[in-house]
């Protein structure tokens, strides 16, 4: 039983996806609980897997008993063990929190929605766990196709943005596939570990260089790395609430994981930094991404679109950290995968909760919201502080590692970009806080108790939201153990 956990994480939601879409024809009310069970099991297995990895180190699983490199192997170490746990647990929390949004925004389509939801998780967990380059492509497409469909279920401009995302995303997928094809031609293998042992002799080959570049471009498109981010704001901004808060925190972070995995395991640190000398230009690009994301976010009038550009900026954090080429930078990047997933989820859940009551996220609709929705807004402030990087929230500590890595590498431009984005984030969030803190000046009177019209969201939304916001601080305080026990070993293994 225990040795099959890696497979269960992927297969259980897969099976439940079919059950859910079938059950939807018979009894709609059953869709949600079934999804809950499927995802809950997957999350539970992930947590168990992480604990197992923590005791035994690396875990290898052969699909169907076929020996690698012929069969598909799942390869679990601290890195994907950590990220898969984050993905499944956050998806589970999001599922509970956004139930009411789903019934409200996509009525009659719950069956389809929930089965797509599960299939999306199948794609993400598969990408994370697999040790096979082509299998990764297949699951990447599973995740992408389901996310196009999920986004397209929204109203208004959502189908159009989903189509746009589909075009760009397919191009990104093709780049990755091409890269894998080149690798296969040169090495004759698709297994990551196997390719890694075959590659060092081929470092001078132009085909390998192209393979590397194609894979990087493919991953960059899928993670919306500036200037390849154009699809993201519309796609995530117009998506239905539940889909947005599922895809936005997870998809881009999983793609960052893919990039880090390719650098660490497949192409090796030597190739990426010494042979290709990609470090400096990529850090500069990342700094540009950080600044551009922050500036674009400033010009947004809609809360969710503002968050989307913040994601673009945060992707720059992680890319920059990964390409700094030192321990602190890579630690920061990996830590930020975890932290940013939690922060972004918290932001999108707040947006969902606000949208549930206001039916609009334009900034001027948020007037006086602190009185109306105190709990939601408190959580919003918590996630805002984390994005700004105020201790002891987790966002501060990944920023700490990133800045520290930047100083060690002498990349002062990157450090300046990080500080700049922190300052812009202060402006961004305090603008929102200001709007929702002050009511109308005309009707305002400062004396006596004004009757507070509390119209807070239902508990099913607030409790998950509160858990995530408390998580921001708890994860922050446990940064030391996370880094020492999970991130340091994996980096040591790969020569950092």
């Amino acid at each position: 039983m225990m040795e099959h956990y890696p497979a269960f994480i992927v297969i259980v939601p897969f099976l439940f996806a079919f059950v859910v879409s079938g059950v939807a024809w018979i009894k709609k009310e059953l869709c949600f609980p079934l999804t809950l069970v499927g995802l809950g099991l997957s999350a539970w297995f992930s947590v168990c897997l992480l604990r197992q990895v923590a005791t035994t180190g690396v875990l290898k699983y052969r699909m169907g008993g076929w020996e690698t490199p012929w069969g598909i192997g799942y390869h679990v170490d601290y890195l994907n063990g950590l990220v898969v746990t984050v993905v499944t647990v956050l998806a589970f929390i999001n599922l509970i929190a956004t139930r009411k949004n789903v019934t409200e925004e996509t009525p009659e389509k719950e069956g389809a929605f929930y089965s797509l939801y599960l299939l999306f998780i199948v794609g993400l967990t598969g990408i994370l766990l697999t040790g096979d380059l082509f299998n990764l492509y297949v699951l990447l497409e599973v995740a992408s196709l389901t996310s196009y469909a999920l986004i397209g279920m929204g109203s208004g401009r959502a189908p159009m943005s989903a189509l746009n995302y589909l075009f760009v995303g397919t191009v990104g997928g093709c780049f990755y596939l091409l890269g894998v094809g080149y690798l296969y031609i040169m090495t004759g293998s698709l297994n990551m570990a196997d390719v890694a042992t075959l590659l060092p002799k081929l470092y001078n080959s132009n085909a390998i260089v192209m393979a590397f570049i194609f894979c990087m471009v493919g991953a960059s498109i899928k993670m919306a790395f500036f200037p390849l981010h154009m699809w993201l704001p519309n796609a995530y901004g117009f998506a239905p609430t539940a889909a947005g808060s599922l895809i936005a925190p997870l998809m881009t972070k999983v793609m960052v994981y893919v990039l880090i995995r390719l650098i660490l395991t497949v192409f090796s640190v030597d190739f990426a930094f010494v042979v290709m000398k990609m470090g400096d230009p990529m850090v500069w690009m990342s700094s540009l991404a950080i600044v551009a994301g922050a500036v674009f976010a400033l010009s947004q009038k809609n809360l969710k679109r503002m968050f989307c550009y913040i994601i673009v900026s945060e992707i720059g954090y992680m890319m920059g950290g990964a390409w700094l080429g030192n321990n602190a930078g890579m630690t920061g990047a990996i830590l930020h995968i975890l932290n940013d997933a939690i922060m972004t989820l918290c932001l999108f859940l707040c947006a969902g909760s606000i949208y549930y009551r206001t039916h609009g996220l334009e900034l001027d609709r948020l007037k006086g919201l602190f009185l109306k929705m105190p709990v939601t807004m408190a959580c919003f402030v918590a996630s805002a502080l984390s994005i700004i990087g105020v201790p002891p929230t987790c966002g501060f500590f990944s920023k700490w590692y990133l800045i520290s890595g930047g100083l060690q590498a002498g990349q002062y431009g990157f450090v300046a970009a990080l500080l700049f984005s922190s300052l812009v984030n202060v402006v961004l969030f305090f603008r929102v806080i200001e709007i929702s803190y002050y009511g109308d000046f005309e009707t305002h009177h400062g004396h006596g108790s004004s009757p507070a019209v509390v119209m807070e969201s239902p508990a099913s939304m607030l409790v998950p939201l509160l858990i995530v916001s408390i998580g921001l601080v708890v994860v922050g305080l446990y940064t030391g153990s996370i880094v020492n026990h999970l991130i340091a070993p994996i980096l040591m293994q790969h020569g950092f």
């Binding site: 201790p391 002891p392 800045i403 500080l419 803190y437 002050y438 009177h445 004396h447």
Partner: protein, 492 residues
């Protein structure tokens, strides 16, 4: 010196955070204020219970979590931190009483929010006082900035919004833009951020880098109101007066000054600074602020704004004293943290009491007010004596030591700065008092009938004025703590 492990500092910090749910859930105003008092008293008792241990020359340490290699969220109670914590915790109780009088007297809205954030701000203040390293200090420093935003903007009108923006821009802008990078560079250079008796930067940086870092830190902790980053302080005077009193005369601004003192003594170390000859830089920056702020204060008509500028000047006394890097100067600077707190809070309380009783904010409208509010104006007189530095008030002692410090360091320029600032202080305070009590009969604006503000408004300034006088005769606890802190810097 012994190091004692104890969870007390953490509890002392958390007491006022833990009381927040109780404040929110209290149905009646009296119950709510009861909880505030309970938390304030428990906090003070906890702080005082650590006092004997500290006075014996020991330190109390508690580590919460090691967050990054070599740096933990850690509390360490030493003499300097104890001095500041005592001042903040004891004045919270008095301010709570005053808050009741003021907020109820004016029938302010959102009082629950007010008490909640007040409690959070106090937690942050004590946290800063007990921080063992720069990271912990930064954590609580930021917490204080955020907790005070709703207090500063309490009125929620356009003026409050403008001031709130200014407040955050100055405070967060400098802490993220200047302190954070400087702190990261320190960590990068040495791998630690732990305050040490002679700093931890010695041998890790050259004179140029040290000077840049020092300037980053001094301007970065903008709560200290060093010019040109002082603009938030007069703006923040839109806050209700108890907020101005405790936060902008004691907690917030003193946290800024305290942080700079920690930087000078715990990060750089006095030996390193005098080796690099950087003490003069600190003193010069502080002197400019002292003189300019006093000159601006002369021309203010709004009483609270005048007090704000007076505060800006007085804060730089502390920095000047510590920047002299001589034992007497540092003693004087540290003492001034306590002495100025009691003096200035008295003045703010009086300004608030006048506003509650008469609705007047401007000095020009207060001619003859001493006849109507003798207790308030009496307290005002004592408070201003303390700020000017005249006996028999505590302010005299700290100024005495500051002056001795300049002589010890042989810095006649700064002696001149201190003395001329005292004259300027007298020049802007004494006319207020004089006109309040001895107006030309035809210009008196108030009837010759005693009509004070509510008891909760008048009591606190009288008490703090009394303490100011008492500190002249019995400065023992603060004086001993300050001289212990100085001895600690000296290496024993």
């Amino acid at each position: 010196m012994e190091t004692i492990l104890s969870i007390k500092p953490l509890i002392a910090v958390l007491v006022s955070i833990c009381v927040v749910p109780l404040l929110v859930l209290s149905k009646k105003a009296n119950v709510r204020e009861g909880w505030t008092f309970a938390a304030a008293i428990v906090k003070l008792l906890l702080v005082l219970s650590m006092l004997p241990v500290i006075l014996k020359g020991n330190q109390i340490v508690y580590t919460l979590a090691e967050v990054v290699p070599g740096v933990a969220i850690r509390f360490r109670v030493d003499a300097l931190g104890m001095l500041f914590a005592c001042v903040a915790a004891s004045l919270w109780i008095i301010t709570s009483a005053y808050s009741i009088g003021y907020m109820r007297g004016l029938d302010e809205h959102s009082q629950t929010r007010y008490y909640v954030f007040f409690a959070l701000a106090l937690s942050a203040t004590i946290g800063v006082a007990f921080s063992a390293n720069l990271l912990t200090l930064y954590l609580f420093y930021e917490m204080l900035s955020l907790a005070t935003y709703p207090l500063v903007t309490h009125h929620q009108d356009k003026e409050a919004r403008t001031s709130g923006r200014k407040y955050l821009t100055y405070i967060l802008g400098t802490s993220i833009g200047l302190v954070l990078p400087a702190m990261m560079v320190c960590y990068h250079l040495t791998g630690t951020l732990e305050f040490a008796s002679q700093g931890f930067l010695a041998g890790a940086c050259n004179r140029g880098l040290a000077a840049v870092l020092l300037v980053f830190f001094i301007f970065g902790f903008a709560k200290a109101g060093i010019m040109p980053f002082h603009g938030w302080l007069p703006a923040a005077m839109v806050a209700p007066t108890p907020v101005s009193a405790l936060l902008h005369a004691v907690a917030v601004v003193k946290v800024g000054v305290f942080s700079i003192v920690r930087i000078i003594t715990g990060v750089f170390g006095t030996e390193l600074l005098s080796e690099f000859n950087l003490g003069v830089v600190i003193c010069t920056i502080a002197s400019v602020t002292i003189i300019v702020a006093s000159l601006i204060a002369l021309s203010q008509d709004n009483l609270k704004r005048m007090l704000a500028f007076s505060t800006i000047g007085q804060l730089s006394y502390i920095i000047l004293g510590v920047g002299l890097l001589s034992p007497k100067g540092i003693t004087g600077g540290m003492l001034h943290i306590a002495m100025h707190a009691f003096g200035k809070i008295t003045l703010f309380f009086c300004a608030g009491a006048i506003f509650v009783a008469t609705g007047k904010r401007n000095i020009s409208e207060m001619v003859g007010i001493g006849r109507r509010m003798p207790w308030t104006m009496g307290a005002f007189f004592v408070g201003s004596l303390s700020i000017i530095g005249l006996p028999p008030t505590g302010g005299f002692l700290s100024k005495w030591y500051l002056v001795l410090g300049t002589l010890e360091a042989n810095q006649m320029t700064f002696l001149f700065v201190l003395l001329s600032s005292s004259l300027l202080n007298a020049a802007y305070f004494m006319p207020v008092v004089y006109r309040a009590f001895f107006p030309p009969p035809e210009k008196a604006m108030f009837e010759n009938k005693i009509q004070e503000a509510p008891l909760f408004c008048v009591g606190p300034p009288v008490i703090t004025a009394f303490i100011s006088v008492a500190l002249f005769f019995y400065p023992e606890p603060f004086f001993r703590l300050a001289s212990m802190a100085v001895r600690f810097i000296g290496g024993n």
